[in-house]
């Protein structure tokens, strides 16, 4: 125990706490973005609102945690945007304005989400369809089914469900607590459970993992199930801030590509096996801080996309360069 006192072990311990050393880098970037955007906002006479920024990152943050799981496993999920919409509409219809329906409606949509995720995982692992095509396919199927059934707000969200979106506990919004709890759970699963370790192994090399006795198919199906459950939770959070669910909430939020962007911005390798949810959390916060800065500085929203594109490419290029230097 006394060894912990030495600085070297402190670094090791810090690295262990953050998962990988690249997570340290991304938090450095986060601090830099925070300082730059906040100085700009303050310099132009705006006001800083950390809670507001956090609340704005909840919807993307939750689903990005799930996306981290599938990307770590070497897969990806392009269907999360429509899963968010399916959840929003189905939950709103099931609740139908009656607070007594809340608990079983929530369980029902989580079960539905888990089923969609499991189907994604089975298509990918059992039929051997590339994850990109498989989830693009399920995304199209969900999109068609959803838009054929609903074309406007549907059902009614009871007022009793709104505290998730608006109320606070000790000054912290419930939604932020939910996001922190999900990030913590994701971190714990990846770091301390057998499933988490197997997921890294499968992502690094599916074949090696399988030959070492890891049931890679089951691991990937599990990761996809988790990812879809987080999409469900994002959908539930979104309707807690609306009076009813609408079929466009998912694609309008662009959760499919944005969540993937947040994950890789957070230092997780798109090829799998490297990264973690703490990095993703930082990636989501960076995107939210930029959003906040652009809104406060009243810069054209289209220009925001240009800057986002530059930042995502630049960040991943830096990770790639460092990776190569590490290997040498």
């Amino acid at each position: 125990m006394s060894a912990i006192a030495s600085p070297r072990n402190a670094v090791v311990a810090a690295r262990a706490a953050f998962g990988t050393s690249s997570t340290g880098q991304i938090y450095g970037v986060l601090v830099l973005v925070l300082v730059v955007t906040w100085s700009l906002i303050l310099a132009t006479g705006g006001n800083i609102n950390l809670t507001n920024t956090l609340v704005r990152s909840v919807a993307l943050g939750i689903v990005a945690v799930g996306q981290t799981f599938v990307i770590l496993g070497g897969s990806l999920d392009l269907s999360v945007a429509y899963q968010v919409s399916v959840t929003a509409v189905v939950a709103s219809v099931l609740m139908d304005g009656d607070p007594g329906n809340i608990w079983w409606s929530v369980l029902a949509v989580i079960a539905l989400g888990a089923a969609i995720g499991a189907i994604n995982g089975i298509i990918i692992t059992a039929i051997h369809i590339n994850a990109f095509i498989a989830t693009l396919g399920t995304s199209l199927i969900l999109r068609g089914a959803l838009n054929a059934t609903f074309d406007n707000y549907a059902g009614e969200v009871p007022d009793e469900f709104q505290p998730l979106g608006y109320s606070r506990f000790l000054g912290i919004p419930y939604s932020v607590l939910l996001l922190l709890a999900i990030v913590a759970t994701g971190w714990w699963i990846l770091r301390y459970t057998r499933f988490g370790h197997h997921l890294y192994a499968v992502g690094a090399s599916e074949e090696t993992a399988r030959l070492s006795g890891v049931r890679s198919g089951r691991v990937l199906i599990g990761a996809h199930t988790i990812c879809s459950i987080t999409a469900t939770l994002t959908g539930l959070f979104i309707i807690s801030r609306l009076s009813a669910g609408a079929p466009w909430v998912g694609p309008d939020g662009n959760y499919d590509l944005e969540s993937i962007a947040a994950v890789v911005l957070g230092g997780t390798a798109l090829s799998g096996g490297r990264g973690g949810v703490l990095g993703t959390f930082a990636g989501v916060l960076i995107l939210a801080l930029l959003d906040n800065a652009f809104n406060q500085l009243q810069i054209n929203t289209f220009l925001k996309d240009v800057v986002r594109g530059v930042i995502i490419i630049a960040a991943v290029a830096i990770y790639a360069l460092r990776q190569r230097r590490d290997v040498r």
Partner: protein, 339 residues
């Protein structure tokens, strides 16, 4: 593959088991499902609409299918080389909007603007390729970034709503054709462009050493590099080809459908679906030009058929999703069996 092991005996001569005819036949067999699906769809369309096989009507169908097929031809090079190009939809939107704003209805500006669009497309393709290969950014992220940048920059430039209009001599490429062709009636310019792109693409991919290098790069980049293939350059050229195909598709679509900020929306996923329907494997190394074009035509035939059947608009997405998963699933199954 030949299964020669150990040291060949004296006087041994390798039998070329890879004659071009055999290669084409094997390619057809591996990718046959898409031709069967396409044939079924075309027959079904003909049953629903007996006029469909009249040359002028079929040419109209081809005219509508041409942009996606051209796009698929470009995307195929990128996919076989082992990468993705998600930026093509944004390139199409940019082409349409920039052309309308810069020509502003003035026919004298058409040719300079078209030249400028091709130059811009080449720059975007080069950027995609160089960022991916020289900086080591996965192409999914590179092209997602250029997609965000192109869409953002164009909409920023025009302030959110399209400005200007396309002159008739720009729009003619997507709308008109050579009139009074015997038997065919009007031969649309888009179909001519499609034939040229298809022939050039087939030659480049299956008849040149560059094509062989594309397959080698996607099949095993390290092995290709060690055997002297300039992998980064091969991939960069593939991205440029894809971007050029998107510019052509954008010019045709601009004439055909008009100016809108959502002109190219979703085309990146459709192009990738088409190529994969045509038997190409994401991850690289496998694919062929004619089946990829057939994949794109299949998607358009599917849209036409669902239109004729009067299926509710949204359900078309579902059918498209089911078909993609089933077709790729069958291909994956056959791929494993033949191994």
């Amino acid at each position: 593959m030949s299964t020669v092991t150990g040291i060949p005996p004296k006087g041994y001569q390798a039998i070329p088991d890879d004659s071009p005819a055999r290669r084409v036949l094997r390619g057809m067999l591996v990718t046959a499902p898409i031709f069967i699906v396409l044939a079924i769809l075309l027959v079904w369309i003909t049953i629903e609409n007996p006029n469909f096989t009249d040359p002028p009507i079929f040419l109209l169908f081809l005219r509508r299918a041409a942009p996606l097929m051209i796009l698929a031809a470009g995307q195929l090079f990128v996919i076989i080389s082992g990468e993705f190009d998600l930026s093509v939809g944004a390139i199409i939107t940019t082409v349409v909007i920039v052309a309308a704003r810069l020509t502003n209805g003035d026919p004298d500006r058409t040719w300079p603007v078209i030249a400028l669009l091709f130059a811009g497309g080449i720059v975007v393709g080069l950027a995609n390729g160089l960022i991916t290969t020289r900086l080591g950014v996965p192409s999914f992220i590179t092209t997602l970034g250029t997609m965000l940048m192109l869409n953002g920059a164009t909409l920023w430039w025009i302030g959110g709503t399209p400005k200007g209009s396309l002159p008739d001599n720009f729009r003619q490429w997507g709308r008109l054709g050579i009139d009074d062709v015997p038997w065919l009636g009007q031969l649309p310019y888009s179909v001519i462009a499609l034939v040229i792109v298809g022939a050039f693409g087939t030659w480049l991919l299956h008849g040149t050493s560059y094509g062989k290098q594309v397959f080698a790069t996607g099949g095993n980049p390290r092995a290709a590099w060690l055997s002297g293939v300039d992998v980064p350059r091969v991939r960069t050229v593939a991205f440029v080809l894809s971007a050029i195909s998107a510019v052509i598709a954008g010019i045709l679509l601009g004439g055909f459908t008009g100016v809108s900020p959502s002109a190219g929306e979703g085309y990146e996923f459709q192009a990738i679906s088409a190529v994969v329907l045509g038997g190409a494997v994401l991850g690289g190394g496998r694919g062929a030009m004619i089946p990829a074009l057939a994949g794109a035509m299949t998607l358009e035939a599917l849209f036409t058929l669902l239109n004729l059947l009067g299926l509710p608009q949204p359900l078309r997405y579902s059918v498209q999703g089911v078909i993609i998963i089933i077709a790729v699933g069958i291909a994956a199954f056959r791929g494993r069996k033949t191994r």
